[in-house]
């Protein structure tokens, strides 16, 4: 237990938030993807976050736990437990001239809400920034402690 454990906590959060940013980028990139069958359409992907207990002194800060404080229930990192896909029905568009149109002249477009994706992206990047700032503060505190008495 100590300031060094903050790096494992924020590190896990940074990696989870970057997975979230990645899925958002995939979703935004596939806003206009079309398919000739409804089941082939790209569906929006969302990571599911789950909190995970870390052992003091594990991970990036291995070997720091020399003080013997052991495992703590209070070190909660984050992990991505799974990536779910949206269950929304795809939009059906009647475009007989489209090369991917089926026998009825329909194409299927993924039902991704651009506004929802953009807000998700902003929230993820804000969380990422906050965790960076937390790590920065912990770094400063450790450096000041090392300079103690000099």
């Amino acid at each position: 237990m100590g300031l060094s454990d903050i790096f494992s906590i924020t590190g896990s959060a940074l990696s989870a938030e970057s997975v979230r940013l990645n899925t958002t980028a995939s979703n935004l990139a596939n806003v206009d993807s079309v398919a000739s069958k409804p089941e082939d359409v790209y569906q929006a992907r969302y990571p599911v976050f789950k909190s995970t207990l870390l052992n003091a002194g594990e991970g990036l800060a291995s070997g720091i736990d020399a003080m013997g404080f052991g495992q703590s229930q209070n070190l909660a990192g984050v992990q991505v437990s799974e990536i779910t896909q949206s269950q929304l029905a795809p939009q059906v568009k009647h475009e007989p001239g489209h090369p991917l149109a089926d026998e009825n002249g329909n194409i299927y477009v993924s039902n991704i809400n651009m506004v929802e994706q953009m807000t998700n992206m902003i929230e993820a990047s804000r969380s990422y920034q906050t965790n960076i700032q937390v790590a920065e503060t912990a770094k400063q505190l450790i450096q000041q402690t090392l300079r103690l008495g000099s």
Binding site: M1, G2, L3, D5, I6, I9, T10, S12, A13, E17, R20, V48, F49, K50, S51, F69, S72, Q73, N74, L75, A76, G77, V78, E123, A124, S127, T130, N131, V134, T137, A138, Q140, L141, Q144, T145, L148, G149
Partner: protein
């Protein structure tokens, strides 16, 4: 006559350890700001410090990190539906405040050491 470093430093080493522990708890809250079902925690600093001070010695032997005094936070707002009780703004402010208070204790310990050094060197 010997110099008692414990007496010189007072309760500040204990406060530093508790502040350190509180900062990891607040960092966990911030890291889990988007985790469904996560409940924010905090350290009851006043009670934890009193417990350390009222124990027989201030040698920080028993539960120096105050884990017995970690409690779930009372939510500031009604649940928005995902069961998460982290209020990001509040956690950020608490983290910043805790970091400043850590630095304050650190400065005091630093000053005491400097005073001791002055006395030892006789400058």
């Amino acid at each position: 006559m010997s110099i008692s470093i414990d007496k010189v430093l007072g309760f500040h080493p204990a406060a530093l350890l508790l502040r350190e522990n509180r900062s990891t708890i607040l960092a966990s809250n911030i890291a889990n700001a988007d985790t469904p079902g996560y409940k924010a925690k905090d350290l009851d600093f006043r009670q934890a410090l009193q417990a350390v001070l009222s124990s027989d010695s201030q040698s920080l032997a028993n539960d120096p990190s105050g884990n017995d005094f970690v409690k779930y936070r009372v939510p500031f707002q009604p649940d928005t539906g995902d069961g998460n009780s982290v209020d990001m703004q509040h956690e950020k402010m608490a983290f910043a405040q805790n970091a400043l208070q850590y630095q304050m204790s650190l400065k005091i310990v630093d000053g005491r050491f400097k005073g001791l050094m002055k006395a030892i060197k006789g400058e």
